[in-house]
Every structure is written in structure tokens, then in C-alpha cells.
């Protein structure tokens, strides 16, 4: 019976403390009854191999003890879809932007990278892993607490179908109209810059002027908002073309990214106006302004990269939805596929 005692002791170790004696007494009695019955049938005591077989049939101590635990899952099936969704949002909303910022800073800012590229990569990888562990751990902990509190479960019982979001099968016309108005105002403002630049830039306009190399990029910078404006016009007429918005925004992001990466190379962006000789105060102001523009361009590049990733994802999703719809026949209206 030594094997049986060892087995019961192993099960006891994993049981809830308050129930240990009770459960072990009951389980022990069952196993002893089984042994007695086998021995009675065999007409002799069971040997060690037979006892091992019987205990293996009963199951691993950890498995047996686990059946007595109340809570088997850290996050239950009710909360799991929400948990999975939040993890995806956090990954897309924090980890992807973090990665983009790290790549842009490493590529464009020399002080941000180590002399050895492998050290730079190792540092970045270590930071990324730490971020993933902290975020994953925090979200999991929050949901595990929620699971125990059960407040989310009761919230799920009080809901109204009328408050559920509408299917995103069309671009809102109101959204398109407001977007178009904003695009037109922006384009008009941009076109007015050469004529009213002095009004906009105030007193500094007499001292500083733009680096002439930047003038060539003035008109190309109208391309991204113009593309978006055209898309908004089309979506007012064809709101069911949801793929167009994501695709136009992706195209606009790509062109803007291309232009800003080129612009970043034309430092200094502001130079003394005409033949003006600047005093020390204005020279210092010029250096600081150029630094500020430099950092602003870097921030814009990072922002465009993040937007491009989001819009690329949306474009792929819309195109897949469209191709699925056309395969399924009736789901997607023919006008949307055209």
C-alpha cells in the first residue's frame, strides 16, 4: 500500500487546503475498495505492476486534484473574445507605433543608434520584448480580476440591440461632405501661402525665408489632400465604395511619406532673407527654428508611417471583403465591385 499512500500524498499536495482531508479520505476509500475487489477476484494480493496500472487509470495526481478546483480558466469563455480584441488593439495601437518610431529614430537620428548595428538591434529587441511582456501581463491581469469580480458578466446581461453599431457597408455621406469641406479649405490655405505668407509668418517673414530648394516641393505637397478630396467627392456619389477611402488614404500617405523623407534632407529649411545680416539674437532664433522644423518633420514622418500601416490594413481588409462578397454572389452589390 506504500504506492497508494504516495499517490494520495501527491494528490493532497495540489488540493485546496480546507478540503484536503475530506477529499483524500473519500478518494482513498474508493481506491482501497477497488484494490480489495481486484484482490478478491485474483485470490491473492495485487503485485506492484498491477497497482501501478490501477493508479495510472485513476489519473495523474495533478489532473485528479485539478478536477476539484473551482476556477479552471484565468479568463473564461464570456470575457475571452473581449480580452483577445483588447490585446489586438493594444498591439496595433501601441506596439506597432512604438516599432515605427524606433525604426524611424534609429534610421534618421544618428545619436539614437549605437556604433555597432547589432547592438542597436539587440537594444531595440530587448525593449520590444519588455514592452510586449508588460502590456500582455497588464491586460491579462486586468481581465483575470474582471473575471473574478464578474462585473462584466452582469453588464453583458443588460444590453439593447438598438445600441449596436450599424454594419460598415458604406461611407457616411455626412462624413464625406465635412471631409471635403475641410480638404478644400486646406488646399485653399496652401495655395494662398505665396501671396499671404508674410501675414501668416508675421514679423519673422522679413528676416527669414524658405530654403529655395524646398520651392520645388510646394505643388507636389498638394497631391495628398487632392487625392483625398477626389475620394470624398466620389464617396458622396458612391458611398458603398468603402474600399476607395482606405485605398485613397493609403495612396495619399505614400506620396506624403515620399515627399517628407525628401524634405528632411534640405536642412536648413529657413535661411536669412535676401542679403540681410542677422544679429546674434536672430541667428540663434534661426538655429532654433530649423531644429524645431527638423523635429516636426520627423514627427510627421512617424505619424504618416503609422497612418500608412493602418490604411494598408484597412485596404487589404476591404479588398478581401470585396473579393469574398463577389465569390458569395449576393452579399456585395455589383456597383460596389465595379
Amino acid at each position: 500500500m506504500e504506492l497508494l499512500d504516495r499517490y494520495l500524498q501527491a494528490v493532497r499536495f495540489w488540493l485546496p487546503r480546507k478540503q484536503q482531508d475530506d477529499i483524500i479520505a473519500e478518494l482513498g476509500d474508493d481506491l482501497r475498495s477497488q484494490i480489495e475487489e481486484r484482490e478478491s477476484a485474483l485470490g491473492r494480493p495485487m503485485n506492484e505492476d498491477e497497482l501501478v496500472t490501477l493508479l495510472k487509470q485513476a489519473g495523474h495526481p495533478l489532473w485528479v486534484a485539478g478536477r476539484y478546483q473551482k476556477q479552471q480558466a484565468l479568463i473564461g469563455p464570456v470575457l475571452f473574445p473581449l480580452y483577445s480584441f483588447v490585446l489586438k488593439i493594444v498591439a496595433l495601437g501601441y506596439l506597432v507605433p512604438w516599432l515605427v518610431v524606433w525604426i524611424v529614430l534609429t534610421v534618421l537620428v544618428p545619436s539614437h543608434r549605437a556604433a555597432d548595428p547589432m547592438l542597436t538591434l539587440a537594444g531595440g529587441w530587448a525593449s520590444l520584448c519588455t514592452n510586449i511582456i508588460v502590456i500582455f501581463g497588464s491586460v491579462t491581469l486586468a481581465f483575470a480580476i474582471l473575471e473574478r469580480v464578474q462585473s462584466a458578466v452582469s453588464a453583458l446581461q443588460q444590453w439593447d440591440p438598438r445600441k449596436l453599431p450599424r454594419p460598415k457597408d458604406r461611407v457616411s455621406r455626412v462624413e464625406s461632405v465635412f471631409g471635403l469641406v475641410f480638404s478644400i479649405v486646406y488646399i485653399a490655405w496652401w495655395l494662398s501661402l505665396p501671396r499671404y505668407g508674410a501675414l501668416i509668418f508675421g514679423s519673422i517673414a522679413g528676416f527669414f525665408s524658405l530654403n529655395p530648394a524646398l520651392h520645388a516641393w510646394y505643388l507636389p505637397l498638394l497631391a495628398p489632400p487632392s487625392i483625398v478630396a477626389v475620394q470624398q467627392c466620389v464617396n458622396i456619389l458612391r458611398p458603398q465604395w468603402t474600399w476607395l477611402r482606405a485605398a485613397a488614404q493609403l495612396l495619399s500617405d505614400s506620396i506624403a511619406l515620399f515627399i517628407f523623407v525628401f524634405l528632411a534632407k534640405f536642412h536648413p529649411y529657413l535661411i536669412p532673407a535676401g542679403t540681410a545680416n542677422l544679429d546674434a539674437q536672430h541667428t540663434q532664433a534661426l538655429v532654433k527654428l530649423n531644429q524645431a522644423i527638423s523635429w516636426s518633420i520627423l514627427c510627421v514622418i512617424i505619424g504618416i508611417c503609422i497612418a500608412a500601416i493602418v490604411h494598408a490594413y484597412q485596404t487589404v481588409r476591404e479588398l478581401r471583403r470585396m473579393s469574398k462578397g463577389s465569390r458569395n454572389g449576393a452579399v456585395m452589390p455589383a456597383s460596389q465591385a465595379l
Binding site: I23, D29, Q34, A58
Partner: protein, 116 residues
């Protein structure tokens, strides 16, 4: 091919487990109209064609007792302490409702299978 056979077996085992889960509760409650301790309950169910291992039965008995469907007491029998279970009054009411539900489901299934 071998993997797909294993997947089929696993799938079947999982589905069988789901199918058995509810039936076992009804069977245990029904069998405990008569007083039993764990081992004799297992034997009785086994003899009637419904085998249940100790790792499944004892946690189930504990859960049903916590829910107030069973009552239990420790008593000595054959020089060993044993825990005897029997159906409580509330358990009897719930069992009646479960049996009605089971008969409805069974009748529906019969009709569905005849039509299919």
C-alpha cells in the same frame, strides 16, 4: 492520413465528453434516490452501462452537494469511514424538471432522426 485519423478520434472524444456531461448529472441524481457512497455509486452506474471514473464522479458529487442537490454524511461501514450521498428535496425537484427536459429533447431528436 494518420494525423487526420487522430484528429477525428480527438474530435469524437471531445464531442462525446460534451454529450455525456449533462447525462451524467441526470444519471447521478437519479441513482442517488437511493443512498450510496462513492464506490458503490460508481459500481451501480457501471453495472447499468454508464461507466464513470473517480476523477469525474467525486468532483461532480461535491459540486452537486454545494448546489444543494445532494446531502451527505460520513458513516463507518466495514471498519472504514465512508461518505454517503443521497438526493435532497431540492435535488428531487430539479431531477424531475431535468427528466422532463431530457424527454422533450429525446423526443425531438427521435423526430429529427426519423426525418433525416
Amino acid at each position: 492520413m494518420k494525423n487526420s485519423t487522430k484528429l477525428d478520434v480527438d474530435l469524437f472524444e471531445n464531442l462525446k465528453l460534451e454529450l455525456r456531461r449533462g447525462c451524467l448529472i441526470v444519471a447521478v441524481l437519479a441513482q442517488l434516490r437511493q443512498e450510496h457512497y462513492g464506490y458503490t455509486l460508481r459500481k451501480a452506474l457501471d453495472d447499468l452501462g454508464l461507466a464513470i471514473d473517480e476523477g469525474t464522479l467525486y468532483p461532480l458529487l461535491r459540486r452537486l452537494e454545494t448546489q444543494g442537490l445532494l446531502a451527505s454524511e460520513w458513516r463507518e461501514e466495514n471498519k472504514r469511514n465512508k461518505r454517503f450521498y443521497r438526493l435532497s428535496a431540492q435535488g428531487e425537484l430539479i431531477l424531475q424538471k431535468l427528466l422532463e427536459e431530457w424527454q422533450t429533447i429525446n423526443a425531438s431528436l427521435e423526430r429529427i432522426l426519423q426525418e433525416a
